[in-house]
Amino acid sequence: MSLATAAAGTAPEVAAAVRSALESVFDAVAATRTDTADLLARVAAEGRRPATVDLAALRPGLHLRLARNELVSGVGFVAAPGLLTDVPAWLEWWQSGSDGDVRPLLLDLDPEQSAYADYTHWDWFALPRDTGERAVAGPYVDYLCSDEYSLTLSAPVQMEGRFAGVAAADVYLRHFEAAVLPMLRRLPGPAHLVNARGRVTASADPAHLAGSLTKGPDFAAVLQRARPGRFRGLRLVPCRDIPVVLVISAR
């Protein structure tokens, strides 16, 4: 990862580098969103409703995005239930394996058989649907798709002005840590990154490990203000346009 070798010393520089790492993942989400929206518009122009077979046209683009971005381990389009004519629910989802191969995710989405058939309550689906904005979900244990501790970046897709599903990409936390840890370590004090709820996303501070909560500061408010702030001994630097805050403890 080129980010790992970038010279970054100051907090704003690190926040900018974290932002650009996740923006590269959002680029994959945006490309998937565009492809899917175009595809759905073409189907609508033919006067019909889409089916799973139509989504196969997304595959070359999805495979390309998995190959091009090391941070992206899964990518695809998750249909809103009822969108497709042949199935009640569907994930056109592709993952890269440890051996570099690319394979589709095949889930049992029959509610009569699987307790995990309903995916509409997961943050990566519900946030873009409810806000109309792109979102970063996690870190969370993704027991639906990858069994990995992950971040999922997603954005809503529309068809004829209505919500049709989400375009999304998975970043495994261990890959994210590998990308940002060298930068975090170059900061003058122990540093870690948290999401808007204060959950640690990556850390060079043994007192704040990934997955734990950093309690006290109102991180959502810090992100809202989009300006660096302080809370007791902590420096808080929001990453612009990305719901991640860099937290640096006093030595």
């Binding site: 009569e112 244990v141 069994d147 959950r199 909560l213």
Partner: protein, 252 residues
């Protein structure tokens, strides 16, 4: 006394002797495959009349040798859960016998010794207890939405199989709330073993209510950040389910 020894030796010279010198975990593998496929049939994951993949493909998917798979299929045939047809269009098919599901599950439960059930319960308590403790440390209110939904769904689930699936999902979600991918994976694997058996105790409406109540109290303790209480409540919940299975096993 002499006679007994003679009989033993005779048996040892036959099949039993071979079994003694078979690789130690091959019998366990057969049992594991029998349980896995049998549970899938009981839980409705494999439908009546559905064709199983070919022997070599299935063996590959399950990570066992074809010999092991054949032994497992034979055991499943004996239990009446699989029929094998030869020739064109042949293969192994799921077949639900006319015996009620509960009776078949009891046959499956009889395949577990009380010691194995106790050990399964210990493993489960270790996973869910630790998950509850960690979740209490690492959870903020938004993380509890899924657990609440699942606890609620358990009170709505009509049949025992649906209840068992939702029960299992609660414990998987608890492990996810602990932010541990490993505990979650272990819990998913454990549920594939115990899920079908739990149908036997969750059919009882009163017990279903009790479990739902226990789940709600685990959620409350997690929400309050009461680590040790959360752990104890989660442990007690699964220990009680295991104890019921053991008690039932002893009546069979």
């Amino acid at each position: 006394m002499h006679q007994v020894v003679a009989v033993k030796q005779q048996q040892m010279n036959g099949g039993a002797r071979k079994a003694v010198f078979a690789p130690v975990d091959s019998r366990a593998r057969v049992d594991a495959v029998v349980r896995r496929i049998g549970d899938a049939i009981e839980l409705g994951l494999l439908a009546d009349g559905e064709q199983l993949p070919g022997e070599s493909e299935l063996a590959g998917q399950l990570g066992v040798s074809t010999v092991t798979l054949r032994e497992a299929l034979m055991a499943l045939r004996q239990q009446g859960l699989v029929t094998t047809r030869r020739g064109r269009g042949g293969g192994s098919f799921v077949s639900l016998p006319e015996v009620p599901g509960e009776e078949r599950l009891k046959v499956r439960l009889r395949g577990w010794s009380t010691e194995e059930l106790r050990d399964l319960g210990d493993h489960w308590a270790a996973l869910s207890g630790t998950a509850a403790r960690l979740a209490a440390e690492r959870t903020e209110p938004d993380d509890l939405v899924q657990l609440r939904r699942t606890a609620e769904e358990l009170t709505q689930a009509a049949d025992a199989a649906a209840r068992s699936r939702v029960y299992g999902r609660f414990h998987v979600e608890l492990a996810a709330a602990a932010q541990s991918a490993r505990l979650t994976r272990e819990q998913v694997a454990l549920q594939t073993e115990i899920g079908a058996l739990l149908c036997l105790v969750l059919g009882d409406d009163e017990y279903r209510e009790e479990v739902a109540h226990r789940h709600r109290s685990v959620i409350s303790a997690v929400q309050d950040g009461a680590h040790e209480t959360a752990r104890e409540l989660a442990e007690r919940c699964v220990q009680d389910s295991t104890a019921r299975l053991v008690a039932l096993r002893l009546t069979l």
